[in-house]
């Protein structure tokens, strides 16, 4: 795959179209999302990320089921989540579900861990939101071992202990799915991502850039501190949000009612203020190219760019048109522009193939070392 991955993410909201007053049924919206994901591959995008929620108006409670279907319907699309709740899901079930998905998808799987921001989900799943960070830390410590050790004995604070437990199926080719840690503000999660040498995804779509410059800068610095490479080699992903028409005023006019009524920021800041303060870009494809080609100047060269395209009640036809513009006009130019002057040391976006190759290399190096040790022993 390419140096950088471009894709889309969805939170799976079922929102009224403010221009028609029509709200899709769950059945309709689920089918639409499957169409959108497959269209992402058709227009040359690399990644589809699906959110996890456990309350209306969201439908995606079981992402690996949906991604399993998409694995069979696609051939190159990287399937991932935005996010998988590391706090309220049992880490054992996450280990099993994603290893299974990895086998079905031939390795085209990674996942993004998040804590979740819906208060009642914690008590619904028997947890306490005040323990959000400790849950994310402990659950991931277990998940990390379940994919790397065939037999795990484990005891923690939040789930029942394990003795002699083997999570099946074992990860494809013995290599765990790549993990991104998503956070919008917690340095603890940036620290965790840096400690493990995992990816850090800053979903920066609702907040100003300065905040994320600091947070990503912190992650990069800690990545280097923990010895995984230089700060420039840390694995960074960013969110984005765009709406495009050939004529930029048409884009603004068409998107404004969706913006003004959107669940997250509707009835608040003006479209103009929000566009100035966040990565939201509403205009011509060239305006989107200019804005997103500049992201690396703010955050450093990075590995994954995901766009929120399907939300706020936008109709299927519009979303598919947006994907056409994104995949055919915007991303090809961004790939070229972001490849220019990309430092040699900047890693490509991790894939199953690259992780398998790295694991084989590490094995070979370990073997060579033990070989030379035994040679030495013979000489002595």
């Amino acid at each position: 795959m390419s140096q950088m991955q471009f894709g889309i993410f969805t939170v799976s909201d079922i929102t009224e179209d403010p221009t028609t007053g029509r709200t899709l049924s769950e059945a309709e919206k689920i089918q639409d999302t499957l169409t959108i994901a497959q269209h992402a591959e058709e227009v040359g995008l690399d990644v589809f990320a699906l959110g996890e929620h456990h309350n209306p108006p969201f439908w995606s409670s079981s992402p690996t089921t949906t991604l399993g279907y998409l694995a069979a319907k696609t051939t190159t699309l990287q399937l991932t989540t935005s996010t998988t709740l590391i706090t309220t899901n049992d880490p054992v079930k996450i280990a099993e579900d994603f290893a299974m998905l990895q086998h079905l998808a031939g390795g085209r799987v990674d996942l993004m861990l998040g804590r979740g921001n819906t208060g009642p989900v914690y008590p619904w799943f028997g947890q306490d939101i005040r323990e959000g960070i400790p849950l994310a830390i402990e659950h991931y410590a277990l998940l990390h071992r379940l994919w790397r050790e065939d037999v795990v004995d484990w005891q923690g604070q939040f789930r029942t202990p394990l003795q002699g437990f083997t999570s099946t199926p074992r990860p494809l080719d013995g290599v765990a799915p790549f993990v991104w840690h998503g956070s919008i503000r917690s340095p603890e999660i940036a620290e965790q991502a840096a400690y493990y040498g995992d990816g850090f995804f800053a979903n920066n779509i609702f907040w100003p850039a300065e905040h994320y410059q600091r947070l990503i800068g912190y992650y990069r610095q800690r990545f280097e501190h923990y010895g995984h490479g230089t700060a420039n080699q840390a694995i960074v992903g960013l969110g984005g949000q765009v709406f495009m028409r050939p004529n930029s005023q048409d884009a603004v006019d068409e998107f404004r009612p969706y913006f003004d009524n959107a669940p997250v920021y509707g009835h608040g800041p003006s479209l103009e203020d929000f566009t100035a303060q966040t990565p939201l870009t509403v205009g011509s494809p060239q305006q989107v190219i200019d804005r997103y080609a500049g992201m690396r100047d703010l955050f450093g060269d990075y590995q994954r760019q995901l766009f929120l395209m399907d939300h706020a009640g936008l109709p299927l036809k519009t979303v598919l048109e947006q994907l056409d513009i994104l995949g055919c006009e915007v991303v090809p130019v961004l790939r070229k522009e972001l490849a220019v002057n990309r430092p040699q040391e900047t890693p490509d976006a991790p894939t199953h193939e690259s992780l398998v190759a790295a694991a084989r290399e590490a094995d070979a190096a370990a073997l060579a070392e033990s070989g030379s040790e035994s040679e030495l022993a013979e000489v002595k």
Binding site: A141, D153, P187, Q192, P208
Partner: protein, 219 residues
């Protein structure tokens, strides 16, 4: 500790000019005067005063409630407030309590922003009958945020602006000028000992004892 302290004045008056701002300015002047006070010249410190008019930030405050982030102007005001040595909060009393705009501003602050902060509380109103709102509404709000609240609060009713400041006229302890002076003295004493404005803040400071693997990773 430097010889300069930073004081932020937060005023929630809605009209322009407002008596709330008038009270805020009187309090700020009195605190600055007390800090540079002559009774012990060696201890005199100068003060820099920043005034935050919440009316000017009203749109940003509402947007912050809805989106979760502060637009640049509001963010700058919050950052300066957090790094102050003391804060004077003045609100009009509306229907028995602080105004909605005032509370909305407090609600967008980080819950730790005022922890340990010396604060002086004051309010304006049409009649003296609401003066206890400072004690049953304002003080508990700042106590719950772990601010260090000066014992004297200052309430100015419309009538106070026409009073002589004659002690005998007020059974409870002085006219408006005396109450301002007493409260200013209390805040100045707290501000004088503060090193908040010269502290280096690390927004990424991890909680004490934090480990990225928790206590269960190294088994």
């Amino acid at each position: 500790m430097t010889d300069t302290r930073t004081i932020t004045v937060v005023t929630a008056g809605l009209s322009q000019p407002s008596s709330t701002r008038l009270l805020a300015d009187r309090l700020a002047q009195a605190v600055v005067a007390r800090l540079g006070s002559v009774d012990n010249a060696a201890d005199g410190v100068s003060a820099e005063v920043h005034v935050v008019e919440l009316r000017d930030l009203a749109q940003d405050i509402t947007n912050n409630l809805l989106t979760g982030f502060a637009a640049p102007k509001l963010a700058a005001a919050i950052e300066r407030l957090t790094a102050s040595d003391g804060v004077i909060f003045v609100t009009p009393i509306f229907t028995t309590s602080y105004s909605g705009l005032f509370k909305s501003f407090i609600d967008v602050l980080d819950p730790d922003a005022l922890s340990g902060m010396p604060v002086l509380l004051a309010a304006t109103g049409g009649t003296e009958r609401h003066s206890l709102a400072l004690e049953y509404a304002m003080r508990p709000l700042f106590t719950s945020l772990h601010a260090v609240v000066a014992p004297t609060t200052v309430y100015a009713a419309s009538g106070d602006w026409g009073s002589t400041g004659d002690v005998a006229a007020y059974a409870g302890g002085g006219g408006l000028p005396e109450r301002i002076d007493r409260a200013a003295g209390e805040l100045a004493a707290l501000v004088r000992d503060s090193d908040r404005s010269s502290r280096v803040r690390d927004p990424f400071a991890l909680p004490a004892g934090f480990s990225p693997v928790g206590s269960f990773g190294a088994q």
